[in-house]
């Protein structure tokens, strides 16, 4: 329980707004970020039932442009980016030659020969170095820009998100489908409006100039007052994404986890000729992975957390990669990496919760799916 904050931490353009609003600030991936405002449960419920606002400006943005931009994106990411229209985005994996994760990414097609990759805050430096080294090795007409400092990123999420954002823009938000984006003004600020998110709810992520971020934030708070919108911190972001069964890079998967082991085989464009790590992934697909990430629910009163061992015959056979008590479903849930023989839905898992063996059960994904 320490409350000191090293001064060298990075601050988003909304840092002063968070502090002035009384958010509890913590260090996250080298950034000083809000972990909670009114409390994780309150924020989580607001997003599930009304709306919540998140500062995710710590995420990294890397732009890829040039005549060979598509073939380069096809090389460094697993999904088939040739299927993207201009104005469309896709979830993908940035892979190592072993078919494991450098990071998970969102790939946006901004223009014919111009792509934007959104990477996790903790992986910006690693992803940037990796992508640059791949561009140098591959050659071709590709220009790269680490544009992370050029964007603030604000997420408005929840069933009321579209109604709130629509008050601030003339762009027809109903015309933006899930995983598509448009450009236009929000609160008189130039924005890229993306119908994406990390909560399992409908909503938008708004890329705006850093200098205008606080204006957009305040306008969204004001527009959402009638539905009691909540500013939200990283705590609720984590419980919301877990309930929606979305993976957290660095926690659920990393450089030691293949895309298949993470249960993200649907991110792989198998019909592509080549991409980084395709040979080991094709081999693993043919032979079947020996372990896989599963969703579990505790069947006795305990909360399994990141790093707790999954036991079999008295020895660790797997590990919990994420786990919490979720505010909406009111269950203790999580992800665990386990041997294939324990991956079937209904399989009992025995998890070592600080020395006590506690029962859990493998369940179908997702834990939570929003009503449509």
């Amino acid at each position: 329980m320490t409350s000191s904050t090293p001064t060298e931490l990075r601050k988003t353009p909304l840092h002063a707004v968070h502090v002035a609003s009384g958010a509890r600030m913590v260090e996250f991936a080298g950034w000083n970020m809000p972990v909670e405002y009114s409390g994780i449960t309150d924020e989580h419920m607001a997003v599930r039932t009304r709306a919540g606002l998140f500062d995710v400006s710590h995420m990294g943005e890397i732009e890829v442009a040039g005549a060979d931009a598509l073939s380069f994106v096809q090389w460094i990411t697993t999904n088939d980016a040739s299927r993207l229209s201009i104005g469309q985005a896709q979830y993908s994996a940035l892979t190592t030659p072993e078919g494991t994760f450098v990071d998970d990414v969102l790939v946006y097609r901004l223009a014919d020969e111009h792509y934007l990759l959104v990477v996790n805050a903790g992986n910006v430096a690693k992803a940037w170095a990796w992508i640059k080294s791949q561009a140098a090795a591959e050659g071709g007409d590709v220009a790269l820009v680490n544009a992370s400092a050029r964007y603030a990123l604000i997420a408005v999420q929840g069933p009321e998100a579209a109604n709130i954002a629509q008050q601030l823009t003339t762009v027809d938000l109903a015309g933006i489908k899930y995983y598509w984006f448009a450009t236009g003004e929000v609160a008189s600020v130039r924005a890229t409006i993306s119908r994406t998110g990390y909560t399992g709810e409908d909503g938008f992520e708004l890329f705006v100039p850093p200098a205008e971020a606080s204006r957009v934030w305040r306008a969204l708070i004001d527009a959402g007052k009638s539905v009691d919108i909540r500013p939200c911190g990283l705590g609720a972001r984590d419980t919301l994404r877990l309930e929606a069964c979305m993976r957290l890079s660095g926690s659920d998967m990393d450089e030691h986890t293949t895309v298949l082991e993470a249960g993200l085989g649907w991110l792989i464009g198998w019909k592509k000729d080549r991409f980084v790590g395709d040979a080991p992934l094709r081999a693993q697909k043919a032979g079947g992975p020996t372990r896989k990430l599963v969703a579990f629910e505790m069947t006795e009163r305990a909360i399994a957390r990141h790093g707790y061992p999954v036991m079999s015959n008295g020895a660790p056979c797997g590990v919990v990669t994420s786990g919490t008590q979720t505010p909406f479903l009111k269950k203790a849930i999580g992800f665990a990496m386990v041997p294939m023989e324990l991956t079937g839905v209904g399989t009992r898992l025995d998890i070592d919760v600080r020395g006590r063996s506690c029962r859990a059960m493998v369940v179908a994904e997702p834990f939570y799916k929003r009503p449509r």
Binding site: M1, V35, I303, T324, Q325, P327
Partner: protein
């Protein structure tokens, strides 16, 4: 801010004298640090604790923390209401006790902090 009729530990527990026995809980500062409490794991009645010994755990949505006994003694009661209403720790931290102890070394409470010393510690 912190009630003057309580004694405090550096680990953020409080102790309230109640006749010849004492009640133990965690402070408002501790519950704020934890966030929304979802689970309090309490010990068996009859167990004997040493001063500073862990008697259970408290879990919030995002973290788990140990609970430490401010003094030595025998556990004579536990607050079973926390099984169904752990959020009481957030709502009324200084009224929500966790265990009732019969102290075996009454002198130990002298080593605890008073409200002003504890308040200064968490400033």
């Amino acid at each position: 801010m912190f009630p003057t009729d309580l004694k405090y530990t550096k680990d953020h527990e409080w102790l309230r004298q109640d006749g010849g026995e004492v009640l133990v809980g965690i402070t408002d500062f501790a519950q704020r640090q934890l966030g929304d409490v979802v689970f309090v794991e309490l010990p068996e009645i009859g167990r004997t604790l040493k001063q500073g010994e862990s008697f259970g755990t408290i879990e919030s949505v995002k973290a788990v923390s140990e609970l430490y006994s401010p003094v030595s003694g025998e556990i004579v009661a536990v607050n079973r209401q926390l099984d169904t209403h752990p959020e009481a720790v957030n709502k009324t931290p200084h009224e929500t006790w966790m265990i009732r102890l019969k102290p075996s070394a009454p002198d130990e409470s002298v080593s605890l902090l008073d409200a002003s010393a504890y308040g200064a510690l968490v400033q």
